[in-house]
């Protein structure tokens, strides 16, 4: 009993110490498809509790980089991933830890929402139950908490048992965000999360990200330059499978070093 609690406390202590600095560290990451190389020798560190924006023209490998981080590249037989990706000091490409527990460290928000085929309530409780929580009251409490966290509670509290697909696309996207947060991740992976949304819904998501970074590390993929300017604490510019430049938004946007980034800043909307 006692020893268990103590070891739990110690573990938490260790976890918080080890995650103080860079929560994600990528070394020499290469991703190969059957016929070509999608990502070329990626080296990155991602700062904790900041918004890191992955910027670059479409097809440059942003989505693939994001999918490598939570091992969704496993779904594609043709993809080979080599190198190291450290998530909180676990090398997820070589660890023996089970994949679901690694993925639960990250919440994924896709280009468009994919609600689970169940009610609004169950969309949130699904992940909570996966964490092994069975207590009904605790689940109900958490569902409310996370729906509030994404500002959806007032809109849906009287229709929690309706199917999630009855919500608007913007609401669905916030539901998907809440669903991801309910699994208590450290990191949010967002792949062009506003590209299917209207301007108002996009604004809501952007504002949510600003407040969420207090507790989460956010990695945001976008090809919208203005969104990057609005949100980024740290910018990674990718081109044709490579990281070309990275640094503070101020440096990258005001004094780009490479020709590629200069061109992108001029042409890319």
């Amino acid at each position: 009993m006692h020893t268990n609690e103590i070891s739990m406390l110690i573990n938490e202590q260790i976890e918080s110490i080890s995650t103080n600095h860079n929560i994600v560290k990528i070394n020499n990451l290469n991703v190969y498809a059957d016929s070509h190389q999608i990502l070329k020798n990626i080296n990155l560190t991602i700062p904790k509790n900041k918004i890191t924006v992955l910027l670059g023209p479409s097809g440059c490998g942003k989505t693939t980089l994001l999918k490598s981080m939570n091992k969704l590249t496993d779904l594609y037989k043709e993809l080979k991933v080599t190198g190291n990706i450290f998530i909180e000091d676990d090398d997820i490409l070589h660890t023996t830890k089970n994949v679901p527990s690694i993925r639960q460290k990250m919440g994924l928000l896709g280009q468009r929402p994919f609600p689970l085929p169940m009610s609004i309530y169950k969309n949130i409780s699904y992940g909570i139950k996966l964490k092994g929580i069975r207590d009904k009251k605790l689940i109900a409490f958490s569902v409310e908490k996370y729906l509030k966290e994404v500002g959806l509670w007032e809109e849906v509290k009287n229709r929690l048992n309706q199917p999630a697909t009855s919500l608007s696309i913007g609401q669905q996207q916030r539901l998907c965000l809440a669903r991801g947060l309910a699994v208590k991740p450290r990191i949010i992976l967002a792949d062009e999360p506003t590209s299917a949304l209207d301007p108002i819904s996009s604004k809501i998501i952007e504002n949510l990200f600003r407040s969420l970074k207090e507790h989460y590390t956010i990695i945001l993929v976008t090809h919208v330059l203005r969104q990057a300017v609005r949100l980024a604490d740290h910018v990674v510019f990718m081109y044709n499978g490579e990281v070309i430049e990275q640094g503070s938004p101020n440096t990258l946007f005001n004094t780009p070093k490479t020709q590629k980034l200069k061109e992108y800043l001029v042409d890319g909307n």
Partner: protein, 284 residues
């Protein structure tokens, strides 16, 4: 240019509309013929009584033996086919998600199985039955029909599962689901209406097929009370009575056909309603 497009559009609309409506007319025509020809024989007695002595010469009785036999066989076979077919379709779309070649080979084999005529299943079931030392019985009929309809369940459900967008797989796995959880908690629900369609198709094929039960289920005037007893079936009841020289008996064949049609329509409607209700509260 513009005008020819318009003509093309009009011609296509008429042709395709004609094709669609002629199908509906044909269906209505079949149902009407069966009901009109069987109308005189379609009595309550027909539904609630088994054949009495002299029934096949126009004597008293009904086809309750065949109704019950068909229901037993079709439900039994459908349950077995669901138990085997539902996980198979999920397996194809979850565990073989990355293995396109294996997936396609299995689909090809299932399509071939679907296409094999039911008389071949009947002959195979017959051989298997003799090999196992079984008699023509409810059990042999159920097993043979299960073989016949399992590929239908797998492939029909599989077709629907395969249209589920990759994004939903990714979202589900990203939450930390295992593949099994993804299969049974998400894919099954997302594809539920397709699953119902699959079960209905299979049930309809199973209850309507004569050749697969001809040698395997046998025929009897009694309602089977045990799984090793022979069982009559509606398709065979139709077949035997239609061959009779006596007009009243031939009318009974159509009446039996009408009963079979009613059973299929009832089961189909109930399942659709159930499925719609389910989807309303879950998907949309």
């Amino acid at each position: 240019m513009k005008r020819s497009k318009k003509t093309e559009e009009a011609v296509f609309k008429i042709l395709s509309g004609f094709a669609t409506y002629s199908l509906i007319v044909i269906l209505a025509f079949i149902i009407i013929v069966v009901f009109v020809k069987g109308f005189n024989a379609l009595t309550w007695e027909m539904v609630v009584k088994t054949p009495k002595g002299g029934y096949y010469y126009g004597g008293e009785g009904g086809v309750l033996n065949a109704i019950m036999g068909s229901l037993y066989i079709a439900f039994g076979a459908t349950i077995i086919a669901i138990i085997i077919g539902m996980p198979s379709a999920l397996y194809l779309n979850v565990y073989l998600l990355r293995h396109k070649k294996t997936q396609n080979t299995i689909r090809y084999i299932l399509d071939a199985l679907w296409g094999i005529p039911s008389i071949v299943y009947g002959a195979f079931g017959f051989t298997l039955m003799l090999y196992l030392g079984l008699n023509a019985s409810l059990l042999a009929g159920i097993l043979t029909v299960a073989l016949l309809i399992t590929p239908i369940i797998v492939r029909t459900f599989d077709e629907v599962l395969s249209t589920i967008p990759k994004g939903l797989h990714e979202a589900t796995l990203a939450l930390g689901s295992t593949r099994t959880e993804m299969a049974f908690k998400v894919m099954l629900k997302q594809g539920f209406s397709g699953f119902i369609t699959a079960v209905l198709l299979a049930f309809g094929r199973g209850i309507g097929d004569a050749a697969s039960v001809l040698f395997t289920a046998g025929y009897t005037d009694l309602i089977p009370v045990n799984i090793d007893e022979p069982a009559a079936t509606l398709p065979l009841a139709i077949f035997f009575q239609l061959g009779s020289p006596i007009p009243e008996v031939r009318e009974r064949a159509y009446a039996a056909g009408a009963i079979l049609t009613i059973i299929i329509l009832t089961v189909s409607l109930t399942a659709r309603l159930f499925s719609r209700q389910y989807s309303k509260s879950n998907i949309n």
